[in-house]
Symmetry: C2
Subunit: 331 residues, 2 copies
């Protein structure tokens, strides 16, 4: 009966139709689970953020992940796959309740247990973020985070910064790690003492506290780069508390995809990691791997970043004498 | 062995550990499909747009669906569910390859075959958009589309419109249907001949053609409301082709969640349907139904809309004499 209902096998069409009608009358429905057991392929691909392990983290609340997931969804649908957006923690039963053909993992930490387990099961895993250490992913897509950070630090130094601070994270994913080491190396090269605060980036309260701590230090920086989405507004709020004007007393840049920063007071310079391009690329690589397609694309793809320069990192030129408009009396 | 691996059943802990170690060595992995067969619950909820049937339609490319899906994803993750974003067509095998606990369906058409089949299977279905006809959904969330359209038509008439046109769709979902009948009734009430073009809204090219056709008519409207996201830019382009200035010769409003319309030339008035609130509400209702929770919330929820008034629907007041700034020569 199963072959008749699936339109496969060697039953004559009339028989097939008859079986189907009877099955319909009986309320028989094909079991998704049974079918998956037989064919071994489900048409489902997973997407999750494993950086924060079992910490609660609704990642779609962050602009980067939301944009990335949107692009990934579109790319999956366009190739006939459904995207399953999974809870970040491996604790959830749902991981063992869905038969995935492969998974996209965002910012895995080193020795990430979810990635290790999926790879052990023989499933393709493509990571957004180059894998730390020996994490054996099928392919990865990432930005050149070191080059991006060095570009921002040079941009801030060009704008007059003498002591640049960093807001960074406490996790071991390569985004956080590479960005931080790039900062430390830059400091060493230019002879500046590093001034940074690290916090668990999934916790927005911790971010506000870290921003405050950074500006409360005796060696207060005159410019800050924040690695995470809410750092711009957190730093603006902290600057206000300490009576610091942006950009006059404090230059600011943060990594964010949020359009909010075009309209803050003042607008804040942001680094965009181009999550839509990344979301599309990871899904293409994953489906290629699932289908065994020989890809023209390298299995390691680096997507360019974009620095969107706004008022917060442009120090005004030194005042020159400006002639006031002539009043009628002078005419 | 299955009980040992799942941490259930009555095996002593030592036995359980031993079985697990042996299973690990043998490369045994728990089968998601087998587990789903046994427990009957998967922790997975579906989301799809069925309005356009088997037409290709990557719905996440539209701002409304992207925002709604983002909110739905967050709401699902927050309650420990994974969201499966499914291809719009029932043709895809993937529908039968995933065991869903329930599904969110966006803008179902009347007699929607996907909804009918899911309900027949006894699965909870919550629709974004009140169900047309006798579609037996578990619950729905929607806006009051009639009130929203009447509000827009009054707003345009107040701004001086004498003949208001409509860009609408050819599908039978209630959004399109209720918005169109509200327009027709308004026309009857104020004694205006209806001026509208309908097109299949999943096809962006058809939208551009319909906008052009609407403005090429001998009974050309002096104001247009477009029901779909790209109508604003399509109408602006068509207006330019016919030498019509917005808002002087043509007033424009469209229903869109896109931030693009804050920066078009001129900025375009938009109706927001608040997709984030809808996405959150549908998932809460669906999970309540799956878990058999007695909900405080009604199973029919109406979310308020918001008209964001911009230049395109504000006719300038009649010119009054403005004194030019005095030049020095006159001082």
């Amino acid at each position: 009966m199963s072959d008749a209902l699936n339109g496969k096998g060697r039953l004559p069409d009339a028989t097939r139709r008859h079986v189907r009608e009877v099955a319909d009358r009986l309320g028989y429905r094909p079991s998704a689970a049974a079918r998956t057991l037989r064919t071994g392929k489900s048409g489902l691909i997973g997407l999750t953020v494993t950086t924060y392990g079992d910490e609660p983290f609704t990642f779609t609340e962050f602009a980067y992940f939301a944009e990335m997931a949107r692009a990934a969804t579109s790319a999956a649908l366009a190739r006939g796959y459904a995207l399953v957006i999974l809870p970040a923690t491996s604790r959830h039963d749902v991981w063992s309740n869905v038969a995935l053909d492969g998974t996209v993992v965002i910012d895995p930490s080193d020795q990430d247990p979810v990635v290790s387990e999926l790879v052990r099961q023989g499933l393709p895993v493509v990571s957004d973020g180059r894998p730390a250490g020996s994490l054996p992913v099928t392919a990865w897509v990432d930005n050149d985070h070191e080059a991006a950070v060095l570009g921002i630090l040079d941009h801030l130094a060009d704008a007059g910064a003498r002591r640049i601070g960093l807001l960074t994270g406490t996790t071991t994913d390569t985004y956080t790690h590479l960005s931080t080491t790039a900062y430390l190396r830059w400091c060493e090269r230019v002879g500046q003492d590093p001034v940074y605060e690290a916090y668990p980036a999934h916790d927005p309260c911790a971010g506000a506290v870290a921003a405050d701590r950074l500006l409360a230090r005796p060696d207060r920086p005159d410019a800050v780069y924040g690695l995470f989405d809410p750092n711009g507004t957190d730093l603006l709020a902290a600057a206000r508390r300490y009576g610091l004007r942006v950009p006059d007393d404090l230059l600011l840049v943060c990594c964010s995809e949020s359009t909010v920063y075009a309209n803050t007071e003042p607008p804040i310079t942001t680094l965009s990691l181009k999550p839509r391009r990344i979301g599309t690329a990871v899904v293409q690589l994953l489906i290629d791997a699932i289908e065994g397609v020989e890809s023209d694309q390298p299995v390691e793809q680096v997507i360019p970043t974009e620095l969107i320069v706004r008022t917060s990192s442009e120090r005004r030129p030194p005042r020159t004498t400006v002639s006031p408009p002539r009043s009628p009396e002078e005419g």
